[in-house]
């Protein structure tokens, strides 16, 4: 067992011989955090949009529900915030924090119930004492009754049995007849609470983004240690001692983990103290996400080290996931700015989960529970990468 630590220590000793690279891995993310941070600051983020942010989750799969969604999305007073990876309770918390003015949950069976003229309610979280709520309530009632009214009219037309007029056509026609609804609420001043730092600090996104991206860059050297060990036949030699194979693998994993975790710690402290990104709002949650992300990325490094045949391959095998995972995972452009499809594709990469974890803490202001699912996903990826690494190692050594 203790040999795991011996091997990890040896790896770190080798890595420390390349001190310049380690500094590079600290300086680059800081430089890029500023670059991206100012780029997004320049976009102005949400500032140009004065509509009220309203969360939206649909548990229903029906074309009537899609119509409701489209009407809400086109609203002039509310702006829908959708994120398939946030739960109803996450939204509830965002409302409580004032990050959202309200949140709408469409229950399962909503569309069918409307079509059958049954009474069904949308669930809405809101602080009903605010003026924003009055505005949103009116808009919601308008939209919901437009849908409802259109359904009724269409079914009346259908009952009249007009030849060649299908229900959906009648519905669309009726709905568009409401395009100029009798009630239209004009924007009053937006009371959605703006918080200090947090949401408006563009660095709250780029700081974790660059941190995750450059932790993958660190694999470039870490994976090389493993490749060199195999190429120089020191791995073979290790196997002539009575050191167990699994201890060798875990030792390497531990070394990379410590490297990345150190990198995280330094960058988180830098983010907290200099960039004013509030990682330490929930120190336990930040620790958990950093731990799981380091575990996951170091397992990826282990896998790269075992797959790569040459040092050059170790470099490209590290750079490719760095760009792909960082790009798709939302380390550069927040996934909220992209569509639903991109959000789902993005969440196939571990980086997106790491981003969710950190952003739930320092950008969205959510509670500790909000990092549990991202952390679990990261650990899941860690197990996957580690399993693949062990499997590949056994397959390549078995002769």
């Amino acid at each position: 067992m203790i040999r795991i630590f011996d091997i990890a220590f040896k790896d770190l000793l080798q890595l420390s011989r390349d001190f310049k690279t380690f500094m590079f891995l600290l300086i680059m993310p800081i430089v890029f955090t500023f670059l991206f941070g100012y780029a997004f600051g320049g976009f102005g983020g949400n500032d140009s949009d004065s509509r009220l942010p309203v969360g939206y989750i649909s548990h229903d799969d029906n074309w009537i529900t899609d119509e409701l969604h489209d009407l809400l999305a086109d609203s002039e007073v509310i702006r829908l915030e959708e994120n398939p990876f946030l739960s109803a309770s996450n939204f509830e918390q965002l409302v409580a924090n004032g990050d959202l003015a309200a949140a709408i949950i469409v229950p399962d069976g909503y569309g069918r119930a409307v079509l059958k003229n049954k009474t069904i309610r949308l669930t809405v979280f809101a602080d009903t004492g605010t003026q924003a709520w009055t505005t949103i309530e009116a808009e919601l009632l308008t939209v919901a009754s437009r849908v409802d009214g259109a359904v009724r009219t269409a079914s009346i037309l259908e009952q009249m049995d007009l030849e060649g007029v299908p229900f959906e056509y009648a519905f669309e026609q009726t709905l568009s007849a409401w395009d100029e609804p009798p009630i239209s609420i004009n924007e009053t001043s937006s009371p959605a609470i703006k918080k200090e730092g947090g949401k408006n600090n563009p660095l709250a996104h780029t700081s974790p983004g660059m941190m995750l991206q450059f932790s993958i860059a660190g694999l470039l050297t870490a994976a090389q240690v493993i490749v060199t060990e195999r190429k120089s036949r020191t791995l073979q030699r290790l196997l002539t001692t009575d050191t167990r194979r699994i201890h060798i693998v875990v030792g390497h994993h531990l070394a990379i983990f410590l490297l990345i975790f150190t990198q995280f710690t330094i960058l988180i402290m830098f983010g907290q103290l200099v960039l004013k990104v509030d990682y330490l709002r929930l120190p336990g949650a930040t620790l958990l996400v950093a731990f799981c992300a380091a575990l996951c990325i170091s397992a990826l490094g282990l896998l790269i080290g075992i797959l790569a045949q040459t040092e050059e391959q170790a470099i490209s095998f590290s750079l490719i996931p760095m760009f792909v995972f960082a790009g798709l995972g939302g380390a550069w452009v927040p996934l909220e700015f992209t569509g639903k499809t991109f959000q789902i594709i993005g969440h196939l990469t571990p980086v997106a989960w790491g981003m969710d974890g950190f952003e739930n803490i320092c950008a969205r202001g959510l509670g500790f529970e909000s990092v549990l699912i991202p952390s679990a996903a990261l650990v899941g990826y860690a197990v996957l990468f580690f399993g693949l690494a062990v499997w590949r190692l056994n397959a390549s050594e078995e002769k």
Partner: protein, 314 residues
């Protein structure tokens, strides 16, 4: 205990696809002796060593190292073993001391005992004063010495050395050969591979000659040499016509054959010390000058030639 062979090899076989690298090799190595596997490139020496150190699984056959089977008790085998691999297997970005210290831990040494052994081994390999330099900056010979040193740290009962003297200068080579003999004096059993027949002849108690994956002969140096007979060959070059002198030499007692090829005259004799003066005497009588003499005692080179029809080194 000491009558149990240190290494007992029974019909080991290993193929890489169509390449039958080792084809049924059997031999015993006694405790405390130096046993050499002598053979040209590709003979299957490293493959045999790899099987004996549990890195490769044999297709057939088994071996016991200090009584532990390589098939069923690899942990037992590894616990009595030190291996010096043919390729230098060290961490080049660590210093010699750091390398030895790491490998010592991998062999289960800790604390003050580890420190003591690292220092002792640094003395043995003569690198104490340069112990804190990175191995990557060492010369080939120095790396070889560290490569050997690693396997000595835990004082194994059995040590395998796979061509430890390849590609180094004569002085380092001398050092290494001397230290191998020292290991034997300390009671270790050494399995040594080489394609230099002089090394095998000088070091070994027993020698196995390998070719094309087979052990074609096995015994002490003397026993092997007897296979080609006891005759010494004397090669001479002459200035002038040698045909008369060759007839005179043929008549000398103790000369069994005289032949000439490309201006080189070869005389096969039982004992060169007795015959050589007579050769010079006869040449002087005919006023023929002998310009060079080369005495070739029977050696493993000749044995290999005799057994395979090929020279050991092409």
């Amino acid at each position: 205990m000491s009558d149990v062979p240190a290494i007992e090899v029974l019909d080991l076989q290993k193929s890489f696809g169509e390449n039958h690298a080792v084809q049924g090799v059997s031999f015993d190595v006694k405790q405390g002796e130096i046993f050499s596997l002598l053979g040209p490139n590709g003979a299957g020496k490293t493959t045999t060593i790899s099987m004996l150190s549990c890195l490769l699984r044999p297709n057939n056959g088994d071996a016991r190292v200090m009584g532990h089977s390589i098939r069923s008790d690899s942990t037992g085998v590894k616990s009595v073993l030190g291996v010096v691999p043919q390729d230098i297997a060290l961490y080049e970005d660590l210093t010699a001391r750091e390398n030895l210290s790491f490998w010592g831990k991998m062999y289960g040494l800790r604390g003050s005992k580890l420190k003591l052994r690292v220092d002792e081994v640094l003395d043995v390999i003569g690198l104490r004063d340069r112990a804190n330099e990175r191995v990557g900056k060492y010369s080939g010979g120095m790396k070889r010495r560290v490569n050997i040193g690693v396997a000595l740290l835990h004082k194994p009962k059995v040590i395998y050395m796979d061509e430890p003297t390849v590609g180094i200068d004569p002085q380092s080579r001398r050092n290494i050969l001397d230290s191998v003999v020292k290991l034997k004096d300390e009671g270790m059993t050494v399995l040594y591979t080489t394609h230099y027949m002089e090394e095998a002849q000088e070091l070994s108690d027993h020698i196995g000659i390998m070719d094309h994956g087979k052990l074609i002969a096995c015994g002490t140096g003397e026993e092997l040499v007897k296979l080609v007979g006891q005759q010494t060959r004397i090669d001479l070059t002459l200035n002038g016509d040698g045909s008369n002198v060759m007839q005179m030499w043929q008549a000398i007692d103790g000369v069994s054959r005289v032949s000439a090829e490309d201006g080189l005259v070869s005389v096969l004799v039982a004992d060169s010390n007795l015959v050589l003066p007579h050769l010079f005497e006869a040449a002087a009588q005919l006023s023929i000058r002998i310009t060079s003499v080369d005495i070739r005692e029977p050696n493993l080179e000749a044995v290999f030639l005799h057994l395979t029809g090929r020279a050991l080194r092409d």
